[in-house]
């Protein structure tokens, strides 16, 4: 399974990239597990994703909770709490 990852705001800055394609192993079935798997890859990812309490996610452009299932997801975004308006 490949997933298009998108990063916004300080997550993007700390990741050092705005997007990437990833292929997590089958054991990674939730957003939280995906974040753990991404963070374990390299120092930038670990730093960008360290503050789990301030991370939010969208699966295929819809906001979801961290325990959301990612089966079949094509696009997953990680970002801080939103501050529009």
């Amino acid at each position: 399974m490949t997933i298009e990852m998108l990063y916004f705001a300080w997550v993007r800055e700390r990741m050092g990239r705005a997007q990437e394609t990833v292929a997590p192993p089958p054991a990674v079935t939730t957003v939280a597990a995906l974040v753990d798997w991404l963070a374990a890859r390299d120092a930038d990812s670990a730093d960008a994703l360290a503050d789990r309490g301030r991370l939010r996610a969208a699966v295929d452009q819809a906001f979801v909770a961290m325990d959301a299932d990612i089966a079949g997801a094509r696009e997953i975004a990680l970002f801080p709490p939103v501050t529009g308006g």
Binding site: F8, A58, Q61, A62, F63, F79, V82, T83, G84, G85
Partner: protein, 147 residues
């Protein structure tokens, strides 16, 4: 009539208000305009967003308001990119037959957009950039609209 626009172009409230007023059956139009404040030392405000997801989220917010208050028109226009103090960041309008619906729906539009749409603000003061923190009061304001 639902109108959603997200872009780097300046917001034109007169044009947006005219559209909301022109909706059939409109007797009352309430609007809200958010500005980059000029009095707290911010030199530039930058707005980042999640293209596609933003427009979809704003459309959901506007459609929910239109249904709940039987609106004749619901408008959400949000600017993105760098903005100087005094610049309009966001404009929302709710057009209804009577005033109570227009006023409540307008408050709903701006409250919900603050929590439901993927925008991020970065302030630049004296050359230093800082991401704006989300506020609990925004979550509370949005939550009061839960049925």
């Amino acid at each position: 009539m639902i109108r959603i626009h997200v872009g780097t172009d300046p917001i034109d409230p007169a044009a947006e208000l005219a559209l909301a007023e022109a909706a059939a059956g409109a007797g009352a139009v309430a609007t809200f305009t958010g500005l980059v404040r000029a009095d707290d030392g911010v030199g530039t405000l930058e707005l980042e967003h999640y293209p596609g997801a933003t427009e979809a989220a704003l459309h959901r917010v506007a459609a929910a308001a239109a249904k709940r208050w039987s609106l004749r028109a619901a408008t959400i226009v949000h600017r993105v990119g760098p903005m100087a103090p005094g610049t309009r960041i966001v404009f929302v309008a709710a057009s209804a037959a009577h005033r109570a619906a227009a006023l409540e729906a307008c408050a709903y539009l701006i409250d919900r957009l603050k929590t439901d749409a993927p925008f991020w603000k970065r302030e630049i003061r004296d050359g230093e950039a800082r991401w704006v923190e989300a506020r609990a009061t925004d979550t509370d304001a949005a939550a009061r609209w839960e049925a």
